[in-house]
Symmetry: C3
Subunit: 206 residues, 3 copies
C-alpha cells in the first residue's frame, strides 16, 4: 500500500514533467505550465478512480498528489529555457509514467476484484489517460495514436502484473516487475519505432 | 435483459467498425485501429454507466464487450484496403450505432428510475459519446456538430423509447422500435441533409 | 441550499450563452447551437457531481437545468445575427460563469467533507470544465490555456469561499463573496492581460 503510494507519486511527478515540458514548447506562461502539469499528472488516476467508483478520487483527498504535481511543474518552469530539448524530455517522462501507471492501474483493478479484461482496460486507461488529456489540451495528435507501441506497452505492463500476481509474487514485486517491463518495451519502441504514418496521415487531413 | 445485451453488443460492433474505418483513413497501424475501435465502441456506454453510477462499467466486467470490439477492429484491418470507401462506411456504421445506443441508453436510464430529462440526456450521451471520443482522438470536427440531424436523431430515439414504454410495450419492442426510428431518421438526414454550414464555418476557422 | 440552486442556474444560463455564441461564430445550425449551449452549461457541473459521487448528476434529475440551458440557447439563436459582437459576449459570459461555478463547486466540495486541496480542485474543475468541453468540441485553443489568469481566477474564487466559510460567514454570503471576487479578478485580467503568447505558440504549431 505504502509502496503503491510511493510509486504512484513517482508516476505523478514524471507525468507532471511531461505535461509541463509539453506546455513549455508552446511558450505557455507559468500558470499554463502548472495547469498542464496537474492535468497530465492526475488525469489518468482520476479516470481510474471514477471508473472503479472511488469517489472522490484520491488526488482530491490527499494533498501530497497536488504538491507532487506542483513540484514537477516548478522543475519545468526552472529548466524550460532550452526548448529544443523538451520533445525528448516529454517522451521519456511520458514513457516512465506510462509504465508506472499501467502497473498501479492493474494493481488497483485487481484489488477491486475485476477480471483480466477489466484489469487490462483500467491499466491501459490509467497509463494513457493523463497523456491523452495533455494532448487534447494542446491539440496535438494523441500520443496513443501518434506513438509506436504505446497503448500496447501499457497493456503489456498490465498483463505482466496479472502474470506476476498469479504466480504468487508480492504486490511490491509485481508492481516493480510490470512497471519495468512496460517502460522497457516503450523505450525499445521509441528507439526503433517510427511514428511517421500517423503524422503524415493527419497532416494530409488538415 | 438478454435482448438488451445482444442489442448492446451489436451497437458496440458497428461503432467498432466506425472507429476502425475512421482510423484506417489516417493510415494508422493495426494497434491504432484497434485503439480507435475500442474507444469508439465502448466510450458511450462507459460514459452512461459512470453517469448512472454503475462502477465499474459493464465494458470492464464482461469480456464479451472487448471481444466484440476486437472482432470489429479485425474486420476493419482485413477490409481497410479500399480507403475511398471508408467515409460512407464510417457514417453508416455510426448511424446504426447511434440509434442502437440511443435506445439502450434510454432503457438503462428508465431502469435506474430517471425522469424524462435524464432519460433523454443519458440516451443522447450514450449514442453520441463513442463517436465524440473517436472524433476528438482523430481531431476531426465532432460529428455531433458536423453532421446534420445527429444529436436530434438520438433524442428522437430516446423519446420514442419513452413513448413506447409508457404505451405499455415490452422492453424488447420498445428497444427495437426506438432504435429503428432513430436509425431511419439519421439515414434520412444523411440522404437529404447538408452539413456544409459547419464544414465551412470551421474551415474558415483554421 | 435554495440560494445555491438559484446561483447554479444563473451560472448554467451564462455558460449556455457563452457556448451558444461561440457556436454561432461557426455558423452552426440551431441544433448545433443548442448542443453547444447544453454541453457548456452543464459540463462542469456533471464533472463535479461525477467526482463527488453524485450519481446521476443533478443536471439529469432536475429538469430546470435543461430548461435553463435551452432558454440560454434560444437567446443566442435570437441574437446571433451580429457575429462580430460574439467574441466579447462569449468571454464575458464565460467569466461570469467561471466565478459562479467556482463558488458553487467549492460549496459542494465543502459540503461533501473534502479538504482544501479537494475543494480547490473541484472548484477549478467545476468552473473550467464546461468551457473546456465547449473549446474541445469547437477545436479552439482551450481558454484555460489561451486566456490570461483563467484557472487562477477560479482558484482564487475557491480559496475565497474557503476563507469566508472558515471566517464563519453563511453559505449565501460565502457564495456571493467568492463568486464576485473570482469574476472581478477575471474581468481585470481580461482588461489588462494579454493572451498573445499562447495564441502565437499554437499558431506556430499548426
Amino acid at each position: 500500500m505504502d509502496w503503491l503510494l510511493i510509486l504512484d507519486l513517482f508516476g505523478v511527478f514524471v507525468f507532471a514533467l511531461s505535461g509541463g515540458f509539453d506546455a513549455a514548447k508552446y511558450k505557455l506562461d507559468i500558470l499554463g505550465i502548472l495547469v498542464l502539469s496537474i492535468a497530465t499528472a492526475v488525469g489518468g488516476g482520476i479516470m481510474r478512480d471514477v471508473l472503479l467508483g472511488v469517489n472522490p478520487p484520491v488526488a482530491f483527498t490527499n494533498e501530497i498528489y497536488l504538491l507532487t504535481c506542483l513540484s514537477g511543474g516548478l522543475v519545468v518552469i526552472f529548466f524550460s529555457g532550452r526548448v529544443e530539448k523538451h520533445i525528448n524530455w516529454v517522451n521519456n517522462a511520458d514513457a516512465i509514467g506510462l509504465g508506472v501507471f499501467a502497473a498501479i492501474g492493474a494493481a488497483k483493478a485487481v484489488e477491486s476484484g475485476l477480471g483480466w479484461v477489466g484489469v487490462l482496460m483500467i491499466s491501459a486507461m490509467t497509463a494513457t489517460g493523463g497523456g491523452l488529456i495533455r494532448d487534447l489540451l494542446l491539440r496535438e495528435i494523441p500520443m496513443i495514436l501518434r506513438a509506436d507501441f504505446y497503448a500496447s506497452a501499457a497493456i503489456i505492463g498490465g498483463a505482466s502484473y496479472l502474470g506476476a500476481y498469479h504466480l504468487g509474487l508480492s504486490e511490491q514485486w509485481s508492481l516493480l516487475l510490470s512497471a519495468s517491463i512496460a517502460i522497457i518495451s516503450r523505450f525499445i519502441a521509441m528507439k526503433y519505432g517510427l511514428s511517421l504514418p500517423n503524422a503524415r496521415g493527419s497532416k494530409y487531413r488538415e
